[in-house]
Symmetry: C2
Subunit: 201 residues, 2 copies
């Protein structure tokens, strides 16, 4: 079964909704998701795509929209969550370590939960240490890796791959050559995945 | 029954999807919609909110997304439609005349259909003349009104009202004090409307 690539940058607000819904969607459909951490900020800066900073009306709407959507999904969210994240890149580099070691999804989920439910910014303590502890990873060991040149390169390479696919925002779901941007396109991505029989491969 | 205010600017691409779905949504729910034409461009320029111009990757995605969404809804769309519109303001001022005279919705629907299904830019001929003719309005009479200071003022006032409500994009659905931005929030607006019993007033 070929998974749907779920490109995500910890730091994206709407991605909270998708991260928390993955397991439920998987349980109800044939789809599965593979998390692909990358730097959406690098791509957005290149594109001069700055949706919320210096746009207070739009940012205010975004929080209200997330609050309402979370409620629809039966998800708790403490709105607004701390934003923007100070240690955006570190949060995502830890996810890259997890990708290589097989605990990326658990970390991203736990870290988002602490960010949006406890108000602890992802990528900083106490979120970072507590999230790694919760999934059974040693913080010192992971930090050393996350700050290594190898992980830095892997993070840049993932961002290059996202860019080459046309990914410009987070969350973004990629099925074959089709991109679906935004939590509100998660169901479209799953339907596309089913229609193309990618789930049978 | 209190209608949902549907703030729309002809010139917005995603609004095509909503304009063409209004009647079907009304037939299946207790909701009804009142079209409120305004200048989303004025508000977006003020906010420095420029989502697609100079953002080719995002614009390309937008067209593909609209194409897929139209298909989901069973709507025909010739993608990409001519964009941006040269006579954006005129298209909307005609809608304001229609608002005062009771044929706004018919005009907006016909004009969007010609724009997205026949590739005729809204606000220019042949779209303008043919759309007015199709709904039984005399073009010369309507043009004289659309270019009058009174309609110009009404257009600015509508835009002021939209701004004061926090509307920053089109389509935008307003139910009480709640804003729902985007075609993909039409169902959320209808559910909110039902939950607040606005439809019983």
């Amino acid at each position: 079964m070929k998974p749907i690539d779920f490109w995500v940058s910890i730091g994206s607000t709407y991605s909270y909704l998708s991260v928390m819904r993955l397991s439920e969607v998987e349980s109800k459909t044939d789809a599965s998701f593979r998390i692909r951490p990358f730097s959406v900020r690098a791509i957005m800066v290149e594109m001069d795509n700055v949706p919320f900073a210096k746009k207070p009306i739009k940012a205010q709407y975004m929080w209200r929209d997330i609050e309402r959507r979370a409620k629809r999904y039966g998800l708790y969210a403490q709105i607004p969550a701390p934003y923007p994240l100070e240690h955006f890149d570190l949060a995502n580099k830890v996810a890259v370590v997890g990708e290589q070691e097989g605990w990326c999804r658990d970390y991203v989920t736990v870290s988002y939960r602490r960010w949006f439910q406890l108000g602890q910014p992802a990528g900083s303590d106490p979120n970072l240490g507590a999230s790694l502890n919760e999934i059974g990873q040693d913080k010192d060991r992971v930090m050393e890796l996350a700050n290594s040149p190898e992980i830095h390169s892997a993070y840049l390479e993932a961002t290059d791959e996202a860019r080459s696919l046309g990914v410009f925002g987070s969350p973004c779901f990629v099925v074959g050559r089709e991109l679906f941007w935004g939590d509100d396109r998660l169901e479209d991505a799953v339907e596309w995945h089913e229609s193309t029989k990618d789930h049978l491969k």
